[in-house]
Amino acid sequence: MANVLEVNGLTKEYKKGVRAANEVSFSVKEGEIFALIGPNGAGKTTTIRMISTLITPTSGDALVGGYSVVKQPDKVRECITYLPDEAGAYKTMTGNGYLKFMAGLFAKDKAEQEMFVNRAQQMCGLGDRLNEKIGGYSRGMIRKLLLSRAVMTAPKLAIMDEATSGLDVINALDIRRTIKNLAREQGMSFLLSSHNMLEIEYVSDRVGIITGGNLLVTGTIDELKQKYNAENLEEVFELVVNTK
């Protein structure tokens, strides 16, 4: 299977000498769910933002669908969608209005825009509440709306920072299931980030453990468990960070 994302030595220095991300390299295959895991401030969001073309790398590059985030950010944006951590939506818009607005930014014509909106409407499960203003939505509802927005365009790579953070169990399960289905059934690729190891163990195919800006190890969950002789991902994580 071809690689949708190839990250080669991505580095970001916000301040001289302090690297938020240091020579990060990994890849994501078509239809794969890859997760970056690590504690808060490990460099997950910085790495993800560089791949999303929001911030420019100090050195290194990442190719999304063959396009460079440094040289062809416009092309990269056509291949990705990005769901930031704790993101909101325009409170004065209705759910439907928001979907229509965002679809308009991705679609080539009216027909495609409508198709995107229909897809999101079916996926988010918000029903009639989509006619209400987003200002009155709960956190879970907003997250579902944003998630359906992020996948409605069937991007080559959907990038999600802490996809389920701040959600209750039921809502979190719902979102994990949706992500898994989209990857299996439609071959969509995902780059996730999380500090919730249990969630990642359930949802992702491969993980990369990142801390202090350094990506220490990547592999499938089974590979990692065998390699470190651990029972679960949390133990793997502890061993990786401590042996460093």
């Binding site: 916000y14 301040k15 933002r49 999303s52 073309t53 929001l54 911030i55 420019t56 416009d74 944006r77 056509e78 990705i80 969608t81 990005y82 769901l83 930031p84 951590d85 704790e86 993101a87 909101g88 939506a89 325009y90 004065t92 818009m93 209005g97 607005f101 965002m102 308009g104 930014l105 991705f106 944003l146």
Partner: protein, 448 residues
């Protein structure tokens, strides 16, 4: 299509029911206030009602009263007993009264001493209170006038023609000059009209700037804080399109606001000033016949004070550049916002830049200031906006164009930085750098 989509979204965020309500509310409030102020002034200037207590009852005082009636006032005769004026005013439900004491005529004509005339009034607080004393002093001077006539007539045996000549030995013909032109009109009557003109413009500029910059700052900082900006900027839309949609929406809404404000302010000023201008104008036309003075419109033309279509267009262009500068500065400031609280702090620089020249140009002449202050004033781009209308009226085209060119350069520089912030990752990384900087500055102080 994407631009239209973005513009629609920006407009729908800015034009909320609350925004429309406050726009209409301000307009109606201004019109309403103008009406109230206007009627208060009218009441104040209305000399027709005056309360008089005539205790003298002589031929002389009768003459005084008929003289008052001749001048258009309707003396309301009341009877007051005793000297507890407060109680008497309350009893009669009056605000003021003029008391002509017994022996008034005798003391003028027989004793040849200054007679006592009493004017009692309740202290009025506020605008209408001060205005009512104007009418009373008019009546008092009318009584004085009649008294003088009577003395000249009875004691010195003059006839009416002689009296008229002695009372007005000189007739003033007023001329007013402005930027090298002269017109036959009194400066007073012009300035009341000019005040209206030269006050509307700065107010419009002031509100327009405040509103536009508040809007763009809130638009950008909310997007940053809610992280909708990250979503937006990772979508396949050129960042410059996102930026332009925000700017165009802010300009449209600011102009709508300015328009409603201008309508409101115009009615406020005409409501308030209308009566004064009318009075001045009738007075002027009366004198005009005798002295060949011009009416206000003619005088404005003669002095080059009335603006032509071309000049109004220039002013409009100037206003547009002014708003553009305000927006460009706010873009940069909005990008620096970290949370809702810091947005408020960040509005300070622009508030200062808008307010200082607003007040200074309203009360002082910048060109007559010392070199240093003048330089500081001219560096603030908005000073040129406030001075534009005056420069156009006075025909100081060099100053106007100089300011205009400076503003365009200022705008270009600000816009360059704003676009740079938006098209690079500065929009996301700048905030962190700024707070680091503040932390560094604060740390050494803490150690001391």
């Amino acid at each position: 299509m994407k631009f239209r989509n973005l513009l629609k979204k920006e407009l729908s965020e800015l034009i909320t029911p609350q925004a429309i309500f406050s726009m209409i509310f301000t307009m109606v409030l201004l019109i309403f206030m103008g009406q109230i102020m206007g009627s208060a002034m009218e009441e104040g200037f209305d000399t027709s009602e005056i309360n008089i207590c005539n205790m003298d009852n002589t031929e002389f005082t009768e003459k005084v009263l008929s003289q008052l009636e001749e001048k258009g006032s309707k003396p309301n005769m009341v009877t007051i007993s005793g000297e507890d004026y407060a109680a008497e005013l309350e009893r009669l439900d009056l605000n003021s009264v003029i008391v002509i004491p017994e022996g008034f005529a005798d003391s003028i004509l027989v004793d040849k001493k200054p007679a006592e005339l009493r004017y009692v009034s309740e202290l009025g607080i506020g605008f209408s209170g001060t205005m009512s004393s104007v009418s009373a002093s008019d009546s008092v001077s009318a009584i004085l006038d009649t008294a003088t006539d009577e003395i000249l007539l009875q004691t010195y045996g003059m006839n009416e023609d002689e009296i008229a000549r002695i009372k007005e030995p000189v007739q003033t013909v007023e001329f007013t000059t402005f930027s090298g032109k002269t017109a036959n009109i009194s400066a007073m009557s012009l300035s009341s009209v000019l005040m209206m003109q030269s006050m509307i413009a700065p107010f419009v500029i002031f509100f327009l700037l405040m509103m536009a910059s508040q809007m763009i700052m809130t638009a950008i900082s909310t997007e940053k804080i809610d992280k909708t900006l990250e979503t937006l900027l990772s979508a396949p839309v050129p960042r410059i399109t996102v930026l332009m949609a925000k700017l165009v929406a802010a300009v449209i809404v600011a102009l709508l606001n300015a328009l409603s404000m201008m309508i409101g302010f115009f009615f406020y000023m005409t409501g308030m000033m209308g009566n004064v201008t009318d009075m001045v104008q009738t007075e002027t036309t009366a004198v005009a016949e005798a002295t060949g003075a011009l009416n206000i419109a003619e005088a404005m033309n003669a002095l080059g004070l009335s603006l032509g279509v071309g000049e109004y267009l220039l002013f409009g262009l100037q206003l547009f550049v002014t708003v553009a500068i305000g927006l460009a500065i706010s873009l940069i400031l909005g990008a620096l916002a970290e949370d809702a609280k810091s947005v408020q702090n960040l509005t300070m620089p622009i508030m200062i830049m808008v307010m200082i020249p607003f007040f200074i140009t309203m009360f002082m002449n910048v060109n007559e200031m010392s070199m240093g202050i003048k330089a500081v004033m001219y560096i603030i781009p908005f000073t040129h906006s406030y001075l534009a209308i005056n420069n156009l009226m006075a025909g100081n085209m060099l100053l106007f164009w100089g300011g205009f060119v400076y503003q365009i350069i200022f705008f270009a520089v600000c816009m360059f930085f704003a676009v740079r912030i938006f098209t690079t990752d500065k929009i996301f990384t700048m905030t962190g750098a700024l707070s680091e900087m503040f932390k560094k500055q604060q740390q050494p102080k803490a150690k001391k």
